[in-house]
């Protein structure tokens, strides 16, 4: 028996030695775990170029669409962990906190045009935005121009530029639907892709607009997670307005949307079957590369997403960033430096910049790009909208959405709403409840009610760190929140009343 144990130990040792030997060989490479599958091939070419110019090997692994978090989870636990990876906003930072190195001393940070875009905590910088993107309603101006030339059209609007509110958008869209045969389209909007996993344009991007206005009213800052442990979807009706418009004036019947994918929508737009589609500048490639594409590059334009909220006349596109690059502080100091050097090269050297502008199609937020402007039609439009003085940008507050589970639940509810099996009230309830569940907060009844449990958890979150709250909600949130509910409910309800009156002022639909 003794001998057996000894043998087992020996074998185990041998295995360990093997494992160490294999990881020791990777010291001179930078491991980048890439988030964007659409840029995978470009990054391979970048790696080649980087090797030519500096002799350093860049190893790029790309996670398949929608699987970044799980790939990162398994990769970062390995001895040969990624040195460079992406975090998705403050929520992503929360789960990768222990892996993010401070970037405030890096060269590339100094080139960042707007330092407030970074993910920071305690004066240290943990995530660098590497691309600014924008989305809105993309329209084909050839088709809309054809509409505006119709002698029998039913609206007074004379051009797309005139539209600056939901009411006008709705009138034009519905009239276009009425004339769809004359316009040669099957519907005004492309399919509202609600297949599970393909519904991010609705549960994330579209929801961004009402949530942004709610945050504005509640004076919430994205950098303070404790301030948005609950949302009430106070602008739910605005959300419904635009969603109804999308599904009722679409190429596809609302009941069949559950099997539609984003690629279907983009193809419909590219083939001229519809006039509009909600998406962002990253989708230009998807429009351009469709076989039999009928849309001219010069005809692809952006319109802001109007939803019927007072003050939206000055609203612009939704522009922001979701991807933040972080350097893994658990890899060797040498590797961390190599990763920072690579970033610097990519965004400041001549050949690096060329890749960023021409091949990745990024709108980079760094001052080294003062002379280079993006080239594709949609990115150009986004930077034009960014430069406009007369409109305000809707930032990407959706980075505060608590989790993929939350988004999936909302997407599923939207689908059921489209199919007519649940009411809009259910969608709203799902939104509010799932948000609270994923942040580990107790359920709020409604903004007006300011329920005991909802207010209690809010006040707890003021003083207690996030991680503690997580575990409390699992074990003893009952007892913990009980102690503070007395003192907190008063404060909460007064805050909520404030919000409510503000909503009354703002909402046109009472």
């Amino acid at each position: 028996m003794k001998r057996f144990v000894r043998l087992l130990l020996l074998a185990a040792l041998a295995l360990c030695a093997l494992a160490f030997a294999s990881c020791g060989m990777r010291e001179d490479t930078i491991y980048y775990l890439n988030f964007k599958p659409e840029s995978a091939q470009v990054f391979d070419r970048i790696a080649q170029k980087y090797k030519e110019e500096t002799g350093v090997t860049l190893r790029v692994v790309t996670a398949a669409s929608g699987t970044y978090e799980q790939t990162l989870k398994s990769e970062i636990g390995k001895t040969d962990a990624p040195a460079l990876f992406q975090i998705n906003g403050p929520v992503g930072f929360n789960s990768w906190k222990n892996y993010c190195a401070d970037l405030s001393e890096t060269e590339i940070y100094k080139h960042l045009t707007d330092k407030s875009l970074c993910i920071t905590e305690g004066g240290k910088v943990y995530g660098l935005p590497y691309v600014v993107e924008g989305y809105g309603i993309i329209y084909n101006s050839e088709i809309t121009d054809r509409y505006f030339q119709l002698p029998n059209r039913g609206t007074a609007v004379a051009s797309m530029e005139e539209i600056n509110s939901f009411a006008e958008l709705k009138a034009v869209v519905e009239d276009m639907t009425a004339h769809k045969n004359e316009l040669g389209i099957e519907g005004v909007f492309a399919s509202t892709s609600l297949k599970s996993g393909e519904d991010w344009r609705w549960h994330t991007h579209l929801a961004n607009v009402p949530v942004y206005y709610e945050f504005l009213d509640r004076e919430i800052e994205v950098g303070k997670p404790e301030s948005y442990r609950n949302v009430y979807l106070t602008y739910g009706d605005a959300y419904r307005n635009i969603f109804d418009l999308y599904i009722n004036n679409s190429v596809t019947s609302p009941k069949l949307l559950g099997s539609k994918q984003v690629a279907d929508s983009m193809a419909e737009f590219a083939l001229g079957k519809c006039a509009m589609v909600q998406n962002g500048n990253w989708a230009y490639g998807q429009i351009r590369d469709v076989n039999g594409n009928k849309v001219k590059e010069s005809a692809v334009k952006f319109l802001p997403i109007y939803t019927g909220i007072t003050g939206e006349e000055e609203q612009g596109l939704c522009i922001g960033t979701e991807g933040y690059l972080a350097i893994n502080k658990n890899v060797s100091a040498n590797k961390q430096k190599m990763a920072a050097d690579f970033l610097n090269w990519l965004y400041t050297s001549k050949s690096g910049k060329e890749f960023v502008i021409n091949e990745l199609g990024f709108i980079p937020p760094f001052d080294t790009f003062a002379d280079e402007k993006p080239k594709d039609a949609l990115s150009k439009q986004v930077s034009e909208w960014m430069d406009r003085e007369d409109v305000f940008i809707v930032p990407w507050v959706f980075q505060t959405f608590p989790s993929q589970n939350f988004k999936d639940a909302v997407g599923a509810a939207l689908l059921q709403y489209a199919q007519g099996t649940v009411t809009w009230e259910n969608v709203k309830e799902t939104f509010v409840k799932e948000w609270a569940r994923e942040t580990g907060s107790s359920l709020p009844q409604s903004p007006e009610g300011g329920s005991e449990s909802g207010s209690a958890s809010d006040s707890v979150s003021d003083s207690v760190p996030e991680s503690l709250l997580e575990s409390m909600s699992e074990t003893g949130s009952e007892s913990a929140s009980m102690t503070t509910s007395e003192s907190a409910s008063g404060r909460e309800s007064s805050m909520v009343e404030g919000v409510e009156s503000r909503i009354r002022e703002v909402l046109p639909f009472g």
Binding site: L8, L15, N94, S196, K255, S403, A409, A412
Partner: protein, 282 residues
């Protein structure tokens, strides 16, 4: 004898034991241990006791719903698959021209991967449902029967092969004797064929039970849990908990441990019952 066994033990058993330890025992134990912790990656975990287990059963009832749905799908599928597979086996174990060809045809679906099957069937089912202006995500029942149909289609061929092997192992003189004694077809099936293929029935029900219970890719590709999460089976629910939420990895792990326990107990009970029947038959 004993001495030489001991001496050669390392040579014969050790390689397998090592492989078993490294690829099964250690991950399994680590998995159980992780279910009592809060973790992001397996190397940094914080002990939280039974909290994950409580949350698995409380959080919105997803897990219980998924359990109920999985049990119903499994029950229906086990019945459908085995009845159909056995009937086909009876048919195709007769000797007629082309019976080998048909066996191959029925076995083929089993060779296609689950994800591909899921997408193909989604297209097929949606194609039919589109006539009524809806699709598979419209109602839970559509997803339920979709999964049952897909499972049946995939598993029937495989089970059929096992049943055919069992049928061919019955000595022909038993049937001959029975027919001389004046038994009719039904009586022969009930009193000769069934008892003689009892071992095959045990194997097939066990295989279908565990296979259907663990269904993931077919479920993922066919419905993805829609509408809502009402057609998520256990494996998909565990996956969604683990990867879909921030900081819920431990809960997902706890669900996986419960999943294992349920499956192990059910399979053991089923084996016990079937085993007794088999012995009774002989």
């Amino acid at each position: 004898m004993g001495r030489s066994l001991k001496r050669y033990f390392p040579i014969f058993v050790l390689p397998l034991l090592l492989a078993f330890t490294v690829s099964f025992l250690i991950p399994f134990l680590a998995g159980v241990a992780l279910s009592f912790t809060e973790f992001t990656t397996v190397t940094d975990a914080r002990f939280v006791g039974l909290a994950n287990y409580f949350e698995a059963f409380s959080a919105g009832g997803d897990f219980l719903n998924a359990l109920l749905f999985t049990v119903s799908v499994t029950a229906v599928s086990v019945l459908v698959v085995n009845v159909a597979a056995f009937s086909l086996a009876l048919l195709l174990s007769r000797s007629f021209r082309g019976n080998h060809f048909f066996r191959t045809v029925f076995f083929m679906p089993n060779l296609i991967g689950g994800i591909v099957l899921g997408y193909i069937w989604q297209l097929l089912i949606n194609g039919v449902l589109a006539k009524f202006g809806v699709d598979i995500t419209f109602r839970q029942a559509y997803g339920f029967w979709g999964i049952v149909l897909l499972t049946a289609w995939q598993l029937i061929g495989y089970m059929m092969i096992i049943y055919i092997a069992g049928l061919q192992n019955i000595p022909p003189e038993l049937h001959e004797a029975a027919s001389i004694d004046g038994a009719n077809g039904r009586q022969m099936l009930r009193h000769v064929t069934f008892p003689m293929v009892a071992p095959s029935i045990t194997i097939c029900t066990f295989l279908t039970l565990t296979n259907v219970f663990k269904t993931f890719d077919q479920n993922y590709a066919l419905t993805g849990g829609a509408p809502g999460k009402s057609t998520s089976m256990l494996a998909l629910d565990i996956f969604q908990t683990f990867y879909g939420s921030v900081g819920k990895e431990g809960v997902g792990q706890a669900k996986a441990v419960i999943f294992f326990l349920i499956l192990a107990v059910t399979a053991a009970v089923q084996q016990g019952i079937a085993g007794r029947k088999e012995r009774g038959a002989i």
